[in-house]
């Protein structure tokens, strides 16, 4: 990223008569599209750009220079697990013998692709302590929704229709309650204790025969391991509910703890977090959902099943099973994302995957310990992959968490997650992944100390940051009051 802003729109580069494509000549005569009834065709062609190829290439290349990515620099972004996206993943995902497959072509011609699906599914099951995964969900929130559908299908299959509530901690990701609402469930919030973990005494009275289950992430969004998890799972199970694991924070568990071993029945994994697939500026992701034994019949359709004929011979089939909750995707999910995640697992291997969690946890604790002199650490003790500060220790300067975040951009670091979780007013959430070197972390720590000092010496400098980015602080109030969301509206404004 440089700090020279390229702000043109493609529509401003257009000139009538230019073109940026070449197509094969039409070798088939006498079949003109003009034969379509005029009443069924569009009145005028869409107002799309008319530009030559080099103009398009320069335009998007210059735009990319306004962007920050993992390949540009360090993301201190809590709950997002911005780890390195290995290049070999990209190479394998583009393999022409996979990328050219139509999802409906004959099953005998896609056995290699189905093996990738099946083996990734089984690898995730082993890593998470689950029986089987579906890889069909497209993203983490889609996985949550799918998992809650499984939860409801389980209760409905038992004729237990009155279980319409799901318990969600007040520290949960916003997608948890939103997914519950889409799934037709009512949300019941359980409070956190002062140490950030679920308050078991607050949970107990909420448990009755209307509870479908409970959603939790562990470690939670404060990076704290829920040490009462076994007790919580027992309480929920005893009242007939199921435990759902939000896998957004799975990274520190690798090598140490499997959700399936600590009482969870259903879970999702964000392949774009824990399994190194790129975030792509907000997708495509992939949100596989795993279930313990006894729930696999409810997984969404279609499922990929393996049939062993003898020791060396097997084949895969794509099936819609009777008790399935139904389909949640057009086909088998974001297959090219699965190719990347499977490549990552094979690249790490069993000897390396098990130290991902401990190394990520070491990095988080190191940054936390080195910064707690100037930032307010509301909850001490060892954290897992991430931790939360409640703003600067010295609140007298008037410098807020937002200001600190924006000033970090000036120093070439991506801001932490801010104002989440909602438990603290000035929350600033930091997650350095296992891929970051001590030198990178030390540089970040130095900058954070420098900003704390600037807040004392020259608070205005921090409050008006950023100063060195391609653009300055944006007026988002005006954007929301009078939304301008297309080029046409921009011309009219």
């Amino acid at each position: 990223m440089n700090n020279v802003y390229y702000g043109k729109l493609i529509f401003e580069l257009t000139k009538e008569g230019r073109k940026g494509y070449s197509l094969p000549k039409n070798e088939i005569e006498n079949y003109g599209i003009e034969a379509l009834p005029a009443a069924l065709t569009r009145g005028e062609a869409p107002a799309l750009p008319e530009v030559d190829e080099l103009t398009v290439v320069r335009h998007y290349t210059n735009m990319s220079n306004n962007n920050f990515g993992v390949d540009t620099g360090f993301y201190a972004l809590g709950s997002c697990t911005m780890k390195y996206n290995p290049k070999i993943n990209e190479e394998i995902a583009a393999h022409p013998f996979f990328s050219g497959l139509h999802p409906l072509q004959d099953v005998s011609t896609v056995q290699g692709a189905l093996e990738v699906y099946y083996k990734l599914q089984q690898s995730l099951a082993e890593l998470a302590g689950m029986k089987e995964f579906t890889l069909n969900p497209y993203a983490g929130a889609h996985g949550e929704l799918t998992g809650l559908m499984i939860m409801r299908s389980y209760h409905m299959s038992r004729g237990d229709e009155k279980r319409t509530k799901v318990i969600v901690p007040d520290s949960a990701h916003g997608t948890n309650p939103a997914s519950a609402a889409v799934c037709g469930l009512d949300v019941v919030v359980v409070k956190s204790r002062p140490d950030g973990t679920v308050d078991v005494d607050d949970l107990r009275p909420l448990l009755d025969d209307t509870i479908a289950g409970m959603m939790m992430t562990n470690p939670n969004t404060l990076g704290i391991f829920e040490h009462s998890i076994a007790e919580i799972a027992k309480l929920v199970h005893d009242c007939g509910g199921l435990m759902y694991y939000d896998g957004a924070n799975l990274n520190p568990m690798l090598g140490k703890v499997r959700p399936g071993d600590i009482g969870f029945d259903i879970m999702h994994i964000n392949l774009h977090k824990t399994f190194s697939t790129p975030h792509g500026g907000g997708g495509p992701g992939s949100g596989p959902v795993g279930v313990r034994e006894g729930l696999e019949q409810f997984l969404p359709a279609p499922r990929v099943l393996r049939h062993e004929i003898d020791d060396d011979t097997y084949h895969y089939s794509v099936e819609a099973c009777d008790e399935s909750l139904g389909s949640i995707s057009g086909f088998l999910g974001n297959f090219a994302v699965m190719m990347r995640a499977y490549t990552y697992i094979l690249t790490l291997g069993r000897e390396n995957v098990k130290i991902v969690g401990p190394l990520a946890t070491l990095n988080a604790n190191y940054v936390k310990e080195r910064l707690k002199d100037v930032f307010e650490l509301p909850i001490g003790g060892v954290c897992k992959h991430e931790f939360v500060f409640d703003g600067l220790k010295d609140k007298s300067t008037g410098v807020t968490t937002l200001d600190v975040a924006k000033r970090l951009l000036d120093y070439g670091f991506h801001a932490p997650t801010i104002y989440f979780p909602l438990l603290f007013h000035e929350a600033l959430m930091i997650e350095p992944t296992e891929n970051e070197s001590k030198e990178t972390l030390d540089a970040f720590i130095d900058v954070m100390h420098k900003i704390a000092q600037e807040a004392k010496d020259d608070p205005e400098l921090v409050k008006t940051a950023p100063h060195c980015t391609p653009v300055r602080r944006l007026d988002d109030t005006q954007a929301a009051l009078k939304p301008i969301v297309t080029y046409k509206e921009l011309l009219e404004a």
């Binding site: 197509l23 920050f68 972004l77 939103a178 057009g330 604790n365």
Partner: protein, 446 residues
Amino acid sequence: MNYKFFPHTDEDIRTMLDACGERTLDDLYKDVPEQLVLKRDYELPEAMSEVEIRHYFDELGSYNVPLACFVGAGCYDHYSPSVVSSIIQRSEFLTSYTPYQAEISQGTLQYIFEYQSMMAALTGMEVSNASMYDGCTATAEAMMMAVANAKKRNKVLVSATVNPAVRRVVDTYAKFHGVEIVTIAEEGGVTSRADFEQKIAAGDVAGVIVAAPNYYGILEDYTGWADLCHDNKALFIMNCVASALGVIKTPAEWGADVAVGDGQSFGIPMNFGGPYVGFLCTSKKLIRKMPGRIVGATIDADGKRTFVLTLQAREQHIRREKATSNICSNESLMALYVTIYMSLMGKQGLREVNELGYAGAHYLADKLVETGQFRMAYPDKPFLNEFVLETDLDIDQLQAWCLDDGMQAGLKLAGNRLLLCVTEMRSKVEIDALVESVNDFINSQK
């Protein structure tokens, strides 16, 4: 512990543990109850080098067979300009996060603004969101939008001519969201007008979902449908094939309230089912009921024109269970894909793509009917580049025969019918080869 993705030396780890006041990496997990800790290695293969990884996937790939594809049905084999795959691999786009930090995300924000502008131009609608997962979930989101808009109504009508893959996803979302889905019957390959009129007249319908082109490739006539929907306070929702919108009457021209569909037909590799990109466009009036992210134009502190995520008060990270949808990650990079595609192709390119598909499909249909073994299932209905044939031949055997010749001969539908598709990717030579293969099969049956 030395490994290419882990930069720490043993010395680094010691120093860092010291700073934390801990002695070993295991000590960092002292808060985890001992009985919950995994005490064995994972049952996974050992690490592979890049050389081994490449061999492994080459070997697995040999169990796949790339085919000349004459099937569409929701996924289309279209030309993808070399520029697109090259640009979307730029790591500034590929490895970036959701553009919450607008000052260092103008690249992403600006292409989403361009995407929204192009999708609005393509559908004729006023606004577009920043993308959905795929065309199926986009349609399900539109269904929920209709129900939220109607407040006390929970019935949505879906035409029987909507792609069954879309219908399955809509049904699933409806079942759990408490929406009643009622089918509008099909009549001769199109949605029954009489059945629609009767069902909408009940006055309890929140939305109506139809397709353009429909599952059989047919362009239906929806004259007056939007008015009937609006008279009965229902939203008119159209599921469209993105590429076809280059030539077919737009959802806006039909009077639709919401246009949804999949953008895959804009050259996105078929990739065995994903990632693709769902689109959802609507009117300005309904923008605050729209699911997903939206980018708006604004200015920065220096007065420069800039772009930012806006109307976030609809979204899950602000509104939690009261949000318009649970969607968070969408398909941003694939939105960039179709934005670059549309920039290169422009209106003329989109038209040519449709001309080529139209010519190829109509030519193939005539050639297959000429064999005497096929009849057009809906002979009087206009189609674009997909069509349905009826036959007395054994379709499974026919497809197996063509498979041996390296071709996927359409998709078998109920009633011994065959759904075929031709895009600009199928040359006349390939189409003739399919006809020849079919003729060989017919002769083998004699």
